[in-house]
Structures are given as C-alpha cells and as structure tokens.
C-alpha cells in the first residue's frame, strides 16, 4: 500500500458508475444506479438527500465498509474492488476518519482511551497518549478525558468522536449526519469545530446530511435522487 499519498490524479476518493442493489421481497431494489464522484484533497463535499435515498449506503461504499454491486471505488488511489475486508481496514487505519450520528464511542473505554484506540490502530501508535490528550484539548475536553461516554453529554460525546477522527491526522474524513442527534446550538458548535479542524489539518471531508444549511458550508453540494448523484 505504502505511498498512496502521491495520488496520480490528485483525487482522494473516486467513484465511477457505482451501483448497489438488494434483493427484497418485491424483487430487486436499486439503491444506487450509477454514481460518479471525485473528492480532491482538502475539499469538502456534502451529499444531500431525503431519508432512505441511499446516502449512508453511498458513504459506506466510499469508505470501503461495504462493496458495490457494480462500478468502481478508489480510496486514496487504491481500487477497493480487489481488496478483502482486512486489507481495506488496513488502508483506512490512520488515514480515514469517521464521525457518526450516533457517536459510536466504545462504552467501556474513557474519552482518552477512545481517542487512543484510533491512534493505536494507525501507523504511529508511539505516543498515542500524548497525541490523544492533545486532540481532546483541541476539542475543549481537557478536563473530561477520564470520563466514560455515559458520563458525557451528547455534544461532549460528539466532540470525543471528532477528536478521535482527527487525532491520527487523516487524509479524508467521512461524516454521517454528525449533528443528527444534537440540538441546534450544540450542533452548530460541533460543525464549527469540525470545519476548524478540517481547515487546520487540510483534511478532505465527505459529509452526508439532510441539513441544507450545514451543507452550505461545504465546497460542493451533491443531491442523491433516485439513485443518481446530481450537482446542485
């Protein structure tokens, strides 16, 4: 895998003719019908769409969490089609970050340990503790590093998730409705933090949302409608 940072065409995430269907009780259900997408370094792309339009499915395919029915995905210049799940996981380690609607923190680990986990699974586990503390400080949780997720508010949990996502200094960050479980004020704070870190670290961002205002902060906005991606 090695030096995929020298991407030939400069795109970090690339999809070509991406299709996904499932067999349901009523026959074949096409979720994605040929999606093309390129995300350049440092670029922020918002994917909008109604509930059930297949946004999260697309995000999962782009991040290599699932395989498409047809078409091609290249993540960090690696074609995902030929890679098995373990190789795809190694490709993500330390280079791809995630922020989820439901936070997805491990309940048995403290805030600090949750962030350390991402660093330890990445390429530079050396000073995981120092880097994690630094990341938590940056999201304003220096005082709460030893708290468990259940002892943190929703906003604080999402801050930990953001610290976890950015701590390994990833090339690309996938965000799935990052403010979906938060109130307006907290959501705004979280998004401010997300974009601040993204700018500071030069991370590319692929964000799925149905919040048009939030999408407005991205460089590009794409609509997923009837399984096809359209520029706004």
């Amino acid at each position: 895998m090695g030096s995929n940072s020298n991407a030939l065409n400069g795109a970090l995430v690339e999809a070509e003719g991406l299709t996904k269907f499932v067999q349901g009780p009523g026959g074949r259900l096409d979720i994605l019908k040929g999606v093309d997408l390129r995300v350049a370094p440092s670029e922020a792309v918002a994917i909008l769409g109604a509930s059930g339009s297949g946004k999260s499915t697309l995000l999962g395919l782009l991040a290599g969490l699932d395989l498409p029915s047809g078409g091609e995905v290249r993540l960090l210049s690696e074609s995902l089609r030929a890679l098995d799940e373990d190789v795809r996981a190694r490709l993500r380690a330390g280079r791809v970050g995630f922020v989820f609607q439901s936070f997805q923190l491990l309940p048995a680990l403290t805030a600090l340990e949750n962030v350390m986990l991402a660093l330890e699974l990445g390429e530079h586990p050396g000073n995981a503790r120092g880097a994690a503390l630094e990341a938590l400080e940056r999201v304003g949780l220096r005082e709460r590093v030893h708290h468990y997720p259940s002892q943190l508010s929703g906003g604080e949990q999402q801050r930990v998730a953001i610290a976890r996502a950015f701590a390994p200094n990833p090339r690309v960050l996938f965000a799935d409705e990052p403010t979906g479980n938060l109130d307006q004020v907290t959501g705004d704070q979280i998004i401010g933090l997300l974009f601040e870190l993204k700018e500071a670290l030069g991370t590319a961002l692929v964000m799925v949302t149905h919040d048009v205002e939030l999408a407005g902060r991205c460089d590009r906005r794409l609509f997923l409608r009837d399984g096809v991606l359209e520029a706004q």
């Binding site: 999260s56 999962g60 190694r90 380690a93 048995a108 699974l121 586990p125």
Partner: protein, 831 residues
C-alpha cells in the same frame, strides 16, 4: 500489532469488568474450578497419604496373606534371603469384661511387628501419644479408646479374650497397616501371638487371616517375591507396596471417581452459564467490534483482542477458583479425613495446575465460538445498526461443548469405556430432562389467560424464552434431584431395607460354635424360656475344579466371580432344603441317593458358569470332595437367616471339620444370654446386626454428606446459570419494564411479575426433580435392591417448595435491578 492486541485487551479488561459485563462469566469459572479443585485437593491428599504410607499401610515391604497358618518354610526362606520377618493373625471375636460382652477385631502380633511404620499408644484413653518399638508383650492387651468407653474398664483391668485373661496395658491409638477405620466394623484389640493358643479361639475351621510380613533391601525383597510366588498355595497371595490393600485402593478410587463426576456436573452447568454469558457479551460487543474494524483494525486483531480478554478472565477467575477450592476442600477433609487415622498430609501443588487447566478448557470449550463471532461483525454496522454477526453454528457450539466435556471426563476418570458410558448417560439424561422441561413449559400455555397480571406476565416470559427456560429448568432440576436422591431417597431405602425384615427377623448371629457346644448352647436358650435356634453346620472348602477343569480366579472377567473363585466357600449339609430356599431346577436328594451331590444357589451358578449336571470338586481340610450339581436353589438373602451357596447331603461332609452357625432374634439382652454364652464358650463369636447396621449407617451418612457437599457446587452453578440467563435478557426486560411503568404499572406489579416468573420456574424444576428422584427411587427399589417402594410425599414438598422458594429468591434478587433505571432513560436509549 500483536503486542497491541495484548496491551489493548489487558487495558480494556478492567473497564469491561467494572461495567459488569464479565462478572457472571467469571463467577461461573470460579465455581467450576472450585468444584473440581476442592475434590482435586482432597484426592491429592489421599493419594499422597497412600504414597507416603505405602509401606506403612502394609506394615512391611511384602506380605504373604493366607487363610491358613503359613508354613515355616516361607518364613525361613525370607530369613535366608536376608530379610526381616514378622507375623500376625486377625479374626473377630467377642471379648468380655464383667457383664459386658463386645465384638472386637482381634489382632495377635509377634515381637517383630510392625516392620515398617510404628505403633502409637497412650497410657489413658485420649492421653498423649507415644511411639512404640513393638507390640504388646505376652499377657498384655492394647485396645482402642472406644472399647474403654463401651465396656467401662480401666488400664490394668483384666479383659477376657477367649479362654484366657489379658491385662489391659495401653490404649492403641494408631496402627500403620490399618488403612482406615472404614474397614474395621468393631474396635481393635491387639495382643501377643504367643497368647493365641491360650485363648482357644483359633481352630482349624475358624476364619482367621494369617499374615507373614517381610522387609529389607529392594533386590532381596524382589528375589524373595519371585522365590515365594512359586511356593504359595492357591489360597495364598502376595501383597507388595504397589498392590497393597487392594480393597482400600479400590474404595478410594471409586470414591474419588464419584466425587469427581459430581464435581463435573457443576462444571457442565457452569459451562452452560459461561456459554450464555459469552453469547450475551459478544452481542453487546458487536458495536465495539464494528468500530474497531471501521477504524482500521483487521478481523484477526479484533478476534485476538476478544480471545485474549477471554484468556485473562479465564486465568484470573481460575486462580480465584483454585483458592476457593482450597478453602472448600477443608470441609471435605473434615468430613472424610477421620477415615485416615494416620492423618492426611498437605496437598501438592498439582491441583492448582489441573484447576487452571480445567478453567481454561471450560472457557475455551463453552465461550470461544461466541467470542470469535465478534470478529465477524461487519464494519458497516456503524452505519446500519441492524447488521450483526451471524450467530455461531449450533453444531459448532454443541460439538465443542461435548468435546470439552469428553476431555474433562477423560481427565477425571481416565477410563475410555467408562467415559463413553458416562457421556452416553449424560446425553440421554440431558435430552430427557430437556424434553420434560419443554413439556412442562408447554403445559403452562393454557394458564396464560388466567390469574393476575403479574402471574400472566411471568408465565408469558417463561414461555416466550422457551428454549432458554428449558435449559435452565433442566439444570435446576438436575441439581435438586441429586440432592433429593442423596438426602431423602437414600434414607428411605435404608429404612425400607431395615423394615423389610419382619419383626421376628433375626438380629444376632452366633458363629464359630464347635459341634460339642451346640447342645449346651441350646439348653442355655431354653433355660431362659427362649426358642431353641437351629444350628447349621459349616465346612470351609475351596472350589478347585468344575468338571475336572481347574478353577483359576484369573480366568473370570467378572470381578465378583474372580473374588468368589479365590476365596473359601462355607459349605453346609442337610437332609431337606432350608425354609426360604426353593429348588428352581433339578431335584433335592432323597434318603438312599448317592451322597455325591451338590445343591447350588442359582445366582452363584450364573456368576461362576455352573450348570445342572456339572461336577464340582472342593478342597476341604486337605481332601478333595467331589459331587454332581443336582439342583439349583433360589435363596431369600435379606431374610437374615443363615444361608449357604453350596449345600450337600449330610453323608458327604459329616466327617469334615465343621463349626456351627445360627441366627436368632433377641430384643433385650435375653437375661444376659449372650454374655453367659460367651463366658461359657469363649471361642463363640456373636455379631449384633443392629450394631453393624448402625456402623453401615454412620459410614453412608458421612459419605453422602460429602457427596451432597460437592453437589452444592452444582446448585451454585445452577444459580450462576440463572444469573447468566437474567443478564442475557436484561436489556429486553429493562425495555419491557420501562414500557409497563410508562403504561402505569407500579413497582409492586413489576416485582410480582418477576417473582411469579422465577417461582414458577423453580416450581417446575422441583416437579422435574421430584419426579426424577421418585422414578430413580422406584427403579432402584424394585429392580436393583428388591425392596418395597412407597412414594415419599416429602420428596415433592421439599423438592417443589424448595425449588420455588430458592429459584424464586435467586431470580428475584438477580432481576430486580431492572427497576433501578428510570423508564425514560431506558426508552430513550432504545436498546
């Protein structure tokens, strides 16, 4: 990455522990290991005692055992080999002091005894012990402390032994070759072998055990062993250190196997709890696995983290189990250690390792499939929560659990055939229990429309988790059944056995009566207004040939046949069959028939392969007596009447040396009849059946107390299994409770529902257990022991009531926590 997995698994362990997710699993391991190691430590002590005292147990390096006096040539041969020798004889007899008569185990020793180990005595009963150089001097007798109490004499008093009187010199406290009090029904009386002739107790026909003890250098002992083996009579045998006390070794081995098996039942139930807990844990950890994969962890890494975490839990809780087992074995040692008069040495460290290994094997066998599952959780679960890992294959889980059980059984009993039988039995028992449990759950269905809300809700819960409920029911049913069998059925059977004797059934035996003593003894009975008992002649003979084919004990596979072929028979002679004997094949002899005939008990005939028309040859007092089997008899053995395996017409055996034996009933002391009889004829031995039964009862009480104790672990494991099942359903229960409370149900309602569910489960387990115990009791009574059978209502009262109360309480304690969380929080979490 490997080191990462170790570090990560270790670090997260403490957190997981605090979160309470692993405690039930760990508790199950602790109980499984504690059950096995408590038995293991105890067995280890006993084995070490046997090993350390091997030559002491023999009192020598090699012993010649013989039912007849041992020829001087064997002793001279040993001395010629440069070996030390000693000898003793043992036999039961009644000793007298004043009006008191008491059966005792007499042992007459020479000056050399014991060659290995030391006798210990004290001056007064329960006084301080002293080691003795040799046994009692001529004219002296040493007796056990309990005889001092029973007969109320003091040191220095004269005790009548047979026709002579010996001075009570010391209190015998320890005898190296005694093995265990278990095998001695009456107190020991030891005196010098030179006094034996004066007692007049040893006659050619009396049953006496003669032993020649040999000790010295190993090569000389081995050489002598080979030399002596060629010169032994067929009824003599050699016992070495390795084959010392076969009856003791066999009893200990059987006991250990039984306790080991009882402990394994606890391990099996704990394994079930481990399986349920691990499966629940792996479901709870699906998110963690998915996030780790999403963040770049490989499947192998995730699997390693979870497998390692399991390993740490297994090691730590096994260590705790070993500690608990060590503490628990002190109770076993207290219960059973009294049978090892030399005391038990400290245990070795070996049970620690075997306990750890059993903990690890159990965890791997019952929990690994679930843990491996976490690695199969797709990373996409972070986006789509409905995605989980496929459940582990039922065959994999059951197969691995069965294999684990087989490995543990093999370890515990080490006999492949027995392991196969136990496994088969366990499988059938499990299936029957499980099927019966399912049946009971199905029977509950119609009840779901009746009763209050709480009961309906509880029953609905039981039925909905049908499969899990059936497993739990089986586990509790098994545990309670074992305890019922030990505590109630065993006692019932002993009582039925005792009641089986009619009120006039004999309760005394009189043996060793010489022919010329029969008439005076009968007169003694008459003088006290008692009925004259019938005295049966008894001639000792060894079966040497069937149809001219020599009888060799080793030729028999059946151990009972082997024993029968090796020992001397008590033959009798009479004109007509005894009352209670029925000829089932052939014809009883008539006056004028050829006297060369035998009548054989049909059970013995089957065991030894004797058929009507066979010719049997017996060696009696140096002569061969031959005859044809002309009839087979059925004998009612438990009548306590005197009976014989082999009987001949009087003409065949009248010339042979005989003693007489009788049995009779005596409800009071018959006006000092027994003391008078023994005083007049000291060689006569009286056995009081009541005293023997008392002794049997004491021994079985103690042994079953030990087994019950081990079965307590089974119940504990059952409770942990219940906790595991409660934990596994906790999320659903919390959700339901929150809903119920939102809908307006009060705390009381919810708690009553929980209580109803668990009490009904305990009640059903009690029904299962009582039914099983009744059935087993019936089969044992009717098929095996041939006893009258009556259903004991206590079986049902204790089983059903105890089950409902016990399981109800445990379940209620385990599940009431669901009320602690406010309903809103539960509903918002949307578990």
């Amino acid at each position: 990455m490997k080191a990462g997995a170790v570090r990560f698994s270790l670090r997260s362990l403490m957190r997981e522990w605090r979160a309470g997710e692993l405690q039930v699993l760990a508790l199950a391991v602790v109980i499984a290991v504690a059950a096995v190691t408590s038995v293991g430590f105890f067995a280890d002590k006993v084995q070490r005692a046997m090993l350390l005292q091997a030559s002491e147990l023999l009192g020598a390096d090699l012993v010649v055992v013989s039912p007849e006096p041992i020829e001087p040539a064997l002793r001279e041969g040993a001395q010629a080999h440069g070996l030390e020798t000693a000898r003793f004889v043992t036999f039961p007899s009644v000793v007298l002091f004043g009006d008191a008569a008491q059966l005792a185990e007499l042992k007459a020793v020479d000056g050399g005894y014991p060659l290995r180990g030391r006798l210990r005595t004290s001056e007064q009963p329960f006084g301080s012990e002293e080691e003795m150089e040799q046994g009692p001097a001529p004219g002296e007798v040493w007796v056990e402390a309990r005889l001092f109490q029973q007969m109320e004499f003091e040191p220095g008093d004269l005790l009548q032994v047979g026709e002579t009187e010996l001075r009570v010199a010391r209190v015998l406290t320890y005898e190296p070759d005694r093995g265990g009090a278990l095998f001695l029904l009456a107190p020991r009386v030891m005196f010098n072998v030179e006094d034996v002739p004066a007692t007049g107790l040893v006659t050619p026909a009396s049953r006496v055990d003669h032993r020649l003890l040999v000790a010295g250098d190993e090569p000389a002992v081995n050489a002598y062993r080979a030399w002596a083996a060629e010169r032994l009579e067929p009824n003599q045998r050699l016992e070495g250190i390795r084959d010392a006390r076969p009856e003791l070794r066999m009893a200990i081995e059987r006991g250990e196997q039984f306790l080991g098996l009882a402990a394994l039942v606890a391990v099996l139930l704990a394994g079930g709890a481990i399986g349920v807990a691990a499966r629940y844990y792996s479901e709870r950890q699906a998110d963690a696995g998915a996030v780790m994969r999403c963040l770049g962890a490989s499947r192998a890494f995730v699997v390693r983290v979870f497998a390692l975490r399991l390993l740490w839990i297994a090691i730590l809780s096994s260590l705790a189990g070993v500690l608990a087992g060590f503490a628990a074995q002190t109770v076993l040692t207290r219960l059973l250690g009294v049978w090892f008069p030399g005391g038990l040495p400290a245990a070795s460290a070996w049970p620690v390792f075997s306990g750890l290994a059993i903990g690890l094997i159990t965890v791997v066998g019952f929990a690994l499939p679930s843990m491996l599952r976490v690695g199969r959780v797709p990373p996409l679960r972070v986006l789509r929560r409905e995605l989980g890992a496929p459940p582990p294959s039922v065959w994999l889980v059951l197969g691995l659990a069965f294999l684990t059980l087989a490995v543990l059984l093999m370890w515990q009993i080490g006999d492949l055939r027995l392991v196969g039988r136990v496994l088969g039995g366990a499988l059938i028992t499990g299936l029957v229990l499980w099927g019966a449990a399912w049946g009971l759950i199905l029977l509950l269905r119609p009840l779901r429309t009746r009763g209050g809300v709480a009961l309906r809700f509880g029953l609905a819960n039981l039925a909905r988790r049908g499969s899990l409920s059936a497993v739990q029911l089986s586990a509790f049913g098994l545990g309670i059944m074992a305890l019922l069998l030990l505590a109630l059925v065993r006692v019932d059977m002993l009582a039925a056995w005792e009641q089986n004797f009619s009120d006039d059934a004999p309760n005394q035996f009189m043996i060793n009566v010489q022919p010329d003593q029969v008439e005076p003894l009968q007169a003694l009975f008459e003088s006290r207004g008692l009925a004259k008992p019938v005295y049966h002649p008894m001639v000792r003979g060894r079966l040497i040939a069937i149809n001219e084919r020599a009888v060799n004990p080793e030729d028999y596979d059946n151990p009972r046949a082997e024993r029968l072929a090796a020992r001397e028979f008590n033959l009798s002679f009479r004109d007509a069959p005894q009352p209670g004997n029925h000829v089932v094949e052939g014809r009883w002899w008539r006056a004028g028939d050829d006297p060369r005939q035998w009548s054989v008990e049909d059970g013995l005939a089957t065991t030894l392969g004797i058929e009507l028309g066979d010719t049997l040859s017996f060696r009696v007092a140096g002569e061969t007596v031959e005859g044809t089997v002309t009839n087979l008899r059925k004998v009612q053995w438990d009548s306590f009447n005197v009976n014989f395996f082999v009987v001949a017409p009087p003409e065949l055996l009248t010339e042979m040396p005989a003693t007489y034996i009788t049995s009779f009933r005596l409800d009071d002391d018959g006006d000092g009849l027994l003391a008078a009889a023994v005083r007049q004829f000291p060689n006569v031995t009286v056995l009081d059946v009541r005293v023997l039964m008392e002794r049997v009862r004491a021994i079985t009480d103690r042994a079953s107390l030990a087994v019950e104790y081990v079965f307590l672990f089974t119940l504990l494991a059952g409770v942990v299994m219940l906790f595991a099942a409660i934990q596994a359903t906790r999320d659903v229960r919390q959700q339901e409770t929150a809903l119920l409370r939102t809908l307006g149900a009060g705390r009381r309602h919810v708690l009553a529902g929980l209580l109803a569910e668990f009490m009904v489960m305990g009640l059903l387990a009690g029904v299962l257990a009582a039914a099983g115990a009744t059935l087993i009791g019936y089969v044992l009574a009717q098929q095996i022991f041939d006893l009258p059978f009556a259903v004991n209502p206590w079986l049902w009262i204790v089983g059903v009531g105890g089950g409902a109360a016990g399981v109800g309480l445990a379940g209620w304690l385990g599940a009431r926590g669901v009320l602690r969380q406010p309903p809103l929080l539960t509903l918002r979490k949307g578990v």
